[in-house]
Symmetry: C2
């Protein structure tokens, strides 16, 4: 039996990821070109696509990893005890999502909506996110008349809605948190 995956393949994959991250750091997700990645990494184009299904898969990997970091940070912070605290805790995540339209687009495309059997790295993080929100809600001073997971899904949906409307020309970025505050108050503390 031959060893299924060779070390060099792992190294190549890592090199591609690291190169892509560096290029994104210097410019943006939007501006990333596969050709630049392979040229900088010193591999052929075909190699890229034997490691990543397509460009979006690479993006999802990187964006998913960043989401994981942000979710871990949120999980380590004390659970928010009211909506304002929640918005504060969510801020780094929201900042990342709104940092680039491209990031938002990829996230949506893969947020459970990716037509793939195996959960991708982003869908996975959405699940983790929802579980985290559910924990906050079930143990905090919020409504308890609904399933906490359902409540968590709602928080996720409202974050997306708030961000989507922020990207709209009609609604400025400055009122994202105000908008989110309205949503979350109505969702988590009805009647208050």
């Amino acid at each position: 039996m031959n060893k299924p995956i060779q070390k060099r393949a792992i190294a190549t994959r890592e090199k591609l990821l690291a190169t892509a991250k560096a290029l994104i750091e210097n410019d943006s997700f939007e501006a990333l070109r596969v050709e630049d990645v392979v040229k900088t990494a010193g591999v052929a184009k075909g190699t890229f696509f034997s490691h990543f299904k397509d460009k979006d898969a690479l993006m999802a990997e990187i964006i998913g990893a960043r989401m994981a970091e942000l979710i871990t940070e949120m999980a380590e912070a004390p659970a928010p005890q009211d909506v304002d605290q929640m918005i504060k805790v969510l801020r780094p995540l929201v900042t990342f999502i709104t940092s680039e339209r491209y990031v938002f687009d990829v996230m949506i495309r893969y947020s459970g909506a990716a037509a793939i059997k195996e959960l991708g790295p982003i869908a996975e993080q959405f699940d983790a996110q929802i579980a985290l929100f559910a924990g906050w809600i079930s143990e905090g001073p919020y409504r308890h008349d609904i399933d906490p997971v359902l409540a968590g899904e709602g928080v996720s949906a409202f974050v997306i809605q708030a961000v989507a409307l922020t990207f709209c020309a009609r609604h400025g970025a400055q009122d994202l948190e105000l908008r989110l505050r309205s949503y979350l108050t109505a969702w988590l503390l009805p009647g208050s």
Copy 2:
């Protein structure tokens, strides 16, 4: 002063739209190629892009028009008096959104999230949709402790959330309406 827009330009635009619609009818949004559109319509490729900023703009036009029809239908039906009725009234719209992943993607991309100054045809329909929902809620047996427009935005957000999760491999299509029912009940009738 020269006439700003000539008749032939309007005719060309209409021909492109009609051709695209026909091709989509025969196949799908996903499968539409700009080259097929221009070849069938008998114009040059450049002409296409002098009428539509990009392929997505054409798609947005067509999808927006369909949304407008569906929203009009919904507006003409009696206002739903409970969540189950609401889901029933929403069904044609939801069916359209879920008909193709591509449709959902374009809708999201343009649902207020399009980075364009002027509201595009889809963002416009989202506005109309929210206004319609707001009307239902403000006059129906639903919660009245929040701004009806806010409530309408929530309905819109939950429809998107439900559809997104449906496209996920983990959640089948059959439970879309059940899921939506949970969301809308929790959102519109908290504590019930």
